[in-house]
Symmetry: C2
Subunit: 318 residues, 2 copies
C-alpha cells in the first residue's frame, strides 16, 4: 500500500476549499515559444503564506484531534513551511512554535512571527533539526507538523496538481520542484491517479540532488547540506514516505544550476509579471534550460513559492 492515495488528496481538497487560495494557472505565448510546448504555470507563489506549503500544513492541522490541536503545534523549517504552519495554526486558534535556521531569509522569519508564531533559532550546519524538533515537541506537549514526511502533508500538497489538471485540462507532463519530496509525491499521486499516462518529473538544484541520486541508487542517499540559492530545496536526504511514493511515481529528476534558477526568476518577472523565489522557479528553470524533452506537449509547471524579499531579489538579479 502506498502511503497516500488519490482519495487522500481529494479529501485534503475538501478540507482546503474556501481556506486555501485556488491559485491561478498562468499562460504566456512568449513562454510557449521559448519552451516549444504549451505551458501551464500553477502560481503557488500567490498561495496564502506565499507558497504551496500552506496546503499540507492546513490539511495536517485540521485533521488533528481537537485536544491534540489545542495543545499547539511545532515545526522545523527553512522558511515556507514555517509560515504555513504558523498561518494554519492561527486559523485554527492554536499556538505554533517554529524552529528556524539562524541563516533563514529575514523576510521569512518576519512573516512567520507576523502570523503569531514563536520562533526558536538553531544552527543548521551543526545541529540536527529533526532531533531538536522532536525534543521541543515532547517537552511542550506540541504536535510536530513535519515539512514533508507525513501522509496528510503530502496529500495536502497534491491538491495543487488536482487544481492544475482541473483547470488546464489534459496534460502530458507535470514538473515540480523537489526538496524533501512532499510536493512531488502529492502531485504525482494526484496527477497519475487522475491521468495514469501523465509523466511527472522532479527538479532539484545541482548541489542538492539527493532525490536524483537516491532514485539512481534505489535507496535514500544522504548528502551534505547543499549550498544553493534555492533555500527551500536544501534537503540532505529524501523523506522516508515521500521517497516510497516518488520512487514509484516519478519519471525522472533533473537538476538546475543557480544561474538557471536566476534566469527563470528573471523570465517570470519580465514576461509573466510574477515574483517567484529561487526554489519556486526550479521546475520552470529546467524547462527553459531544455533539460526535459517536452517538444509540442502540454506541460504543467508548479511555481511553488514567491517568498523572496525585494532586497534579496535585487541581489540575485545583479
Amino acid at each position: 500500500m502506498p502511503p497516500i492515495s488519490l482519495g487522500d488528496v481529494e479529501a485534503a481538497a475538501r478540507r482546503l476549499e474556501g481556506v486555501a487560495h485556488r491559485t491561478p494557472v498562468v499562460t504566456s505565448r512568449t513562454l510557449d515559444s521559448r519552451a516549444g510546448a504549451r505551458v501551464y504555470l500553477k502560481a503557488e507563489n500567490l498561495q496564502r503564506g506565499g507558497a504551496f506549503k500552506f496546503r499540507g500544513a492546513y490539511n495536517k492541522i485540521s485533521s488533528l484531534a481537537d485536544a491534540e490541536r489545542s495543545r499547539g503545534v511545532a515545526a522545523f523549517s527553512s522558511g515556507n513551511h514555517a509560515q504555513a504552519v504558523a498561518l494554519a495554526a492561527s486559523l485554527h486558534d492554536t499556538t505554533a512554535v517554529i524552529l528556524m535556521p539562524e541563516d533563514a531569509p529575514p523576510a521569512k522569519v518576519d512573516a512567520t512571527r507576523g502570523y503569531g508564531a514563536e520562533v526558536v533559532v538553531y544552527d543548521r550546519w551543526t545541529q540536527d533539526r529533526e532531533a531538536l524538533g522532536a525534543a521541543l515537541a515532547e517537552e511542550r506537549g506540541l504536535t510536530l507538523v513535519r515539512p514533508y514526511d507525513d501522509p496528510l502533508v503530502m496529500a495536502g500538497q497534491g491538491t495543487a496538481a488536482l487544481e492544475l489538471l482541473d483547470d488546464a485540462g489534459d496534460l502530458d507532463v507535470l514538473v515540480t520542484p523537489v526538496g524533501g519530496g512532499g510536493l512531488a509525491a502529492g502531485c504525482a499521486t494526484a496527477g497519475k491517479g487522475i491521468r495514469p499516462e501523465l509523466r511527472v518529473y522532479g527538479v532539484e538544484p545541482e548541489a542538492g540532488d539527493d532525490t536524483r541520486r537516491s532514485l539512481a541508487e534505489g535507496r535514500r542517499v544522504e548528502i551534505p547540506v547543499p549550498k544553493t540559492i534555492a533555500d527551500g530545496l536544501q534537503a540532505t536526504t529524501p523523506g522516508k514516505l515521500t521517497f516510497e511514493v516518488n520512487r514509484e511515481l516519478l519519471d525522472g529528476v533533473e537538476t538546475v544550476s543557480d544561474d538557471e534558477l536566476v534566469a527563470a526568476m528573471g523570465f517570470l518577472f519580465d514576461r509573466c509579471k510574477l515574483v517567484v523565489e529561487p526554489s519556486g522557479a526550479a521546475a520552470l528553470a529546467a524547462l527553459l534550460a531544455s533539460k526535459l524533452d517536452v517538444e509540442g506537449l502540454r506541460v504543467g509547471v508548479i511555481l511553488s513559492g514567491g517568498n523572496v524579499g525585494l532586497a534579496r531579489f535585487r541581489e540575485l538579479m545583479s
Copy 2:
C-alpha cells in the same frame, strides 16, 4: 444617450472570450488589514500584452469591416496600447504601424516590435501625436485605433470590471487608474450597469490630474505633459467621449504621488508576488495612502498593467 452601454461591454466580453485572459482576482489578508477593507485585485498585469489595453484594442479591431481591417491599423501610444494593438493586429493577421514617443520605455518598444508591428517614433514634448497619427493613417490607408476615445475601445476595457464583479461578488467600491479615461469609463459603465449602488473612483498621478480638474470645472481642461513615473497616465486632457461618461459615472478622482506609486509597487512585489508598473499600481496606491474612505467595505482595484522591465523596476525601488 451615453457613448457606451452595459450591452456594449457585454458584446465586447463575447468577442474577447477565449482570446483575452480572464485574469485572476488576487486577495491578501495582509492587504486587507493594511487597507481596513476587503480588497479584490484584478490582475490585468497578467493580461496578454501585459495590460488591460489588449481588451479594447482587440474589441475594436475585431469589429472592423474585413476590407478595412485587411488594410491595417495604426496607433499612437506611450506603450501599453501600442503592444495591445500590435498583438491584436497580429491575431487578426493584419499589419500595425505604431507611433511611439522616443522616450518610451525600451521594454515597451521592444515588445511592440516583438509582436510584429512597425514602430515610428516622435517627440512627445514638441509634436502632436493626434495629428501625426491621423496623417499617418490617412497616408497609408490605415484605420486609427485610438487609445481611449472610441466606444469600442472603452467597451473592451470595461470587460475587466465585468469579470471582477462576476468573480468577487458584490462590491461596494471600484477603483481604477485614469489616463485618457477609457478604462475608467468602461469599468464605470459595466460596474454601475450591473450594480447601480457601486461607487467608482478614478486615480491619477498628482502631476497629471487633468480628469480631476476637468470634473471640478465641468469641462475638459488641458494641462502640460505631466512629469511622473506613471508613463501610462500622462494624458494632458480627458478624451471627449471618455469624459462624457466619466463626468456622469465617476464618484470622484483622487491623486497619488510618485512615492506613493513606488510604495504600492513594493507592496505588490513583497506581499502579493505581483510585478506591476507605476501606472498599474495607481489605484492600489490611493487605497494604501488612505485617499479613499473604504473602511470595512468590499473594494475592487484594477491593477492595470505590469510592463516594467527589471532594470527600471530596480531603479524605481532604489
